[in-house]
Symmetry: C2
């Protein structure tokens, strides 16, 4: 189902601001967190900046392992996404609780969430802003896309459990990348 996504195309999936699920792994234990505070930093190799709060269990795992996967869900998964946001990975196995399927990644130990239509394997390349802002800079080392997913409807957080669902698209002549 999944095919390789060229790294040069990764920015197109994060620029519009979807809620993503970040997976991490340590000593065989996988975790999942929901995240909206991310931005592209560079095109290729794709660099991503993101805030992972030190109140999240994922913070310590990412800081230690320097690896994660950014998984982009469609709106069909919205209840599971909110569930991940409302539970603690140190107390519950989120893959099991929310019936997500972990798949082996190619370049990192953290698992892909098979149900997400895009998966970005990432390595932490800069932690200088972690102590002050909980801000990590990641490099995407391998990317996957479900080529059968047409018109994916992504979810975009508006605060307090309110989500905007992606609508129609418009194409304009543009010199912008």
């Amino acid at each position: 189902m999944k095919k390789s996504l060229p790294l040069s195309q990764v920015y197109k999936f994060l620029e519009p601001g979807p809620v993503v699920l970040v997976t991490t792994s340590i000593k065989g234990h996988h975790n999942i967190m929901a995240m909206s505070w991310h931005a592209m930093i560079d095109f290729n190799p794709p660099l991503i900046g993101c805030v992972i709060s030190n109140r999240n269990d994922s913070f310590a795992i990412l800081k230690k392992t320097n690896e994660c996967v950014i998984n982009i869900p469609t709106v069909t998964l919205i209840k599971k996404v909110v569930g991940c946001g409302n539970t603690k990975g140190s107390k519950v196995d989120k893959f099991n609780k929310f019936h997500f399927t972990p798949k082996h990644a190619q370049t990192v130990k953290a698992p892909l969430i098979d149900e997400c239509y895009v998966n970005l394997e990432c390595k932490v390349i800069d932690k200088k802003m972690v102590n002050k802002y909980n801000f990590f800079i990641l490099q995407v080392t391998k990317a996957w896309i479900n080529s059968k997913q047409k018109n994916p409807k992504t979810m975009h957080h508006l605060g307090n459990g309110l989500f905007m669902i992606s609508g129609k698209t418009i194409k304009l002549p543009s010199k912008m990348k």
Copy 2:
């Protein structure tokens, strides 16, 4: 038309990932650029991280003046937004060319774009990542919202002039802020 927006509510407008227009000003000359590479860094006071390429005229102005305004347009302005992305502020007065109305800000010299439904006055508070990543950390010092704008349709860049327009909303019980 515009009323003060509590700083604690700012994140709700940037989390979903809209294209924004960044205004800067130096020696009485205003500039505008389109931007999609931004993320929330903290809630209150609201901190925003953003990449402003050193190929943009706005880069040098922001680096020198440490002030800007992030303006959020609705889709009715899409042609003007793409126009701003396709022109150089050093060669053309974008306020004049695209018929945008500059309004005085309260805490910075850069102007608000009156036609945008949200305006965030920002000061640069951290330039440590500017040389390496063109990444600025801004603090929102004053925020405005057009209280008459109901159901604002924001635009979200998918690359190469393709935009997703914000669709319907869904509310779920959530402990997430």
